[in-house]
Subunit: 225 residues, 2 copies
Amino acid sequence: MAIQLEEVVSTSRGARRRMWTRERLIEAARTVVARQGIDDTTIADITNAADVGIGSFYNHFESKEHLVETLVAQAIETYGAALDRLVAHLSDPAEIFSICVRHTMRMADHDPVWAWFTVRAGFYVRELESGLGVRLLRDLGRGIESGRFTPGDVRSALVVIGGAVVAAMQGRLLGVRDLPADHLIAEQLLRMLGVPADEAERIASLPLAEPLLETAHSSAPGGNR
Amino acid sequence: MAIQLEEVVSTSRGARRRMWTRERLIEAARTVVARQGIDDTTIADITNAADVGIGSFYNHFESKEHLVETLVAQAIETYGAALDRLVAHLSDPAEIFSICVRHTMRMADHDPVWAWFTVRAGFYVRELESGLGVRLLRDLGRGIESGRFTPGDVRSALVVIGGAVVAAMQGRLLGVRDLPADHLIAEQLLRMLGVPADEAERIASLPLAEPLLETAHSSAPGGNR
C-alpha cells in the first residue's frame, strides 16, 4: 500500500482534529451525564455542550451507548491507574487486595456517577478481560506466587470478587439499609483466598486512606462535583 | 368498624373475581414476557393475552413494572420452594448450600427467562429481605449452629454469595466465554464459609440432580417452554 507523503501529513492533521473533537465529545458527555444521568441525556445535549454540530457526533460514535461505553472504559482505566499508584509502596498482596476492593466499593459513596457507570456497564463481565479485571488478576497472581493466596481456580475467585464488589456498590447506590461495611466484605474475600481468619480480619480492618480523587469523572475539566 | 354481613358476602365475591382477574393478568404476562421479553411487552399485549379490558389492568397494577415485580417475586418464591424440596433429605449444611448455589447459577441455562428476571430484579438487594435471601440466611444459620460454617459476619457473606451467583448467571446469560463452572464457584464460597479446602472441593464436585423443572415460569399453564 503506497502512501504519498502529503497524504500522510494531511491525514495526520485531520486525525488530530478528529481526535480533538472526539475528546471534546467525551468530556462534554461526562459533564452532562454526571448532571442529568445517562437516560435523560440526549445526543443533542452532548453536542451542544461540546459546541460541535450534531453530525460530528456520528463521525465518532455510532450511538449514545457507544459514547457512554468509551466514557466508562476511560473512567475505569483512570481509576485503576490511581489505585495502582495508591498501593505502589505496599508489598503484602493481601493488604493490596483489601485496599483495592474496599476503595472500589466506597466509590459508590464518593463518586456515585462513576459507580453507576461501573455497575451498569456489567463491570465484572467486561472487566475479566480489561481494566480492573486485568489488575485484579495480576494482584491475585502475585499473591499466589508468593504463597499468600491459595484460591485454587483463579477465574472463579475473580467472578466471586467481581460479583461481590458490584453487589456491594449497587446496594450502596440503592440506599439499601444495614449493608455490611466494606471491611467485612474484604475480610470474607481474603478468607476465600486462603488468608487465615484472624489475619484476614486484621488486614481488612486497617485504616483506609481518603477516597481516590483521581477518577476520570471527578477530575474532568468542568466536572460539576 | 362495623361491617354488615351482606357487605362481607358481596365483598368476598368481588374479591374473588378481582383475585381471578389479577391471576389471569399475571399468567398472561408470564407467557407474553417469556415470548417477547420485558422491554418489548406492552400492557395491551398482556391484557389481550389475558382477554380482559385494558382498564382492568390498572385496577390491579400501577404499571407494567409493578406487574413484572409481582411476577418476579412469585417466580423466585416458587423456585425457592422447589429448592427446599430438593434438599429436604440432606443434613450437611455444606452440601445443601452447594446444591442450592449451583442449581441457581444453572438456571441461566435451564430457564433464561427466570434468570433474567432474577438478575434484573437486582436479586441480591431485595433477596436479603425475602425469597432466596431468607432461605440462604436460614441455611447459613444452620451451618453456623452446627459448627460447619464459620463465616464471621453473616450479612457480608450473604452479599458475597448473592453477588457471585448473580455475576455467574449474568455471565452465562451474556454468553461470556471461559466462565468458570458452577462447582468451582461453589467451592470458593464454601472455603469462604470456613469449609477446609479439600472438603470444599469434594462437596462442590458432587453430581448434581437434573435441573429444577418447577420454576413458576416453566410450570406456568400455557407457558411456552
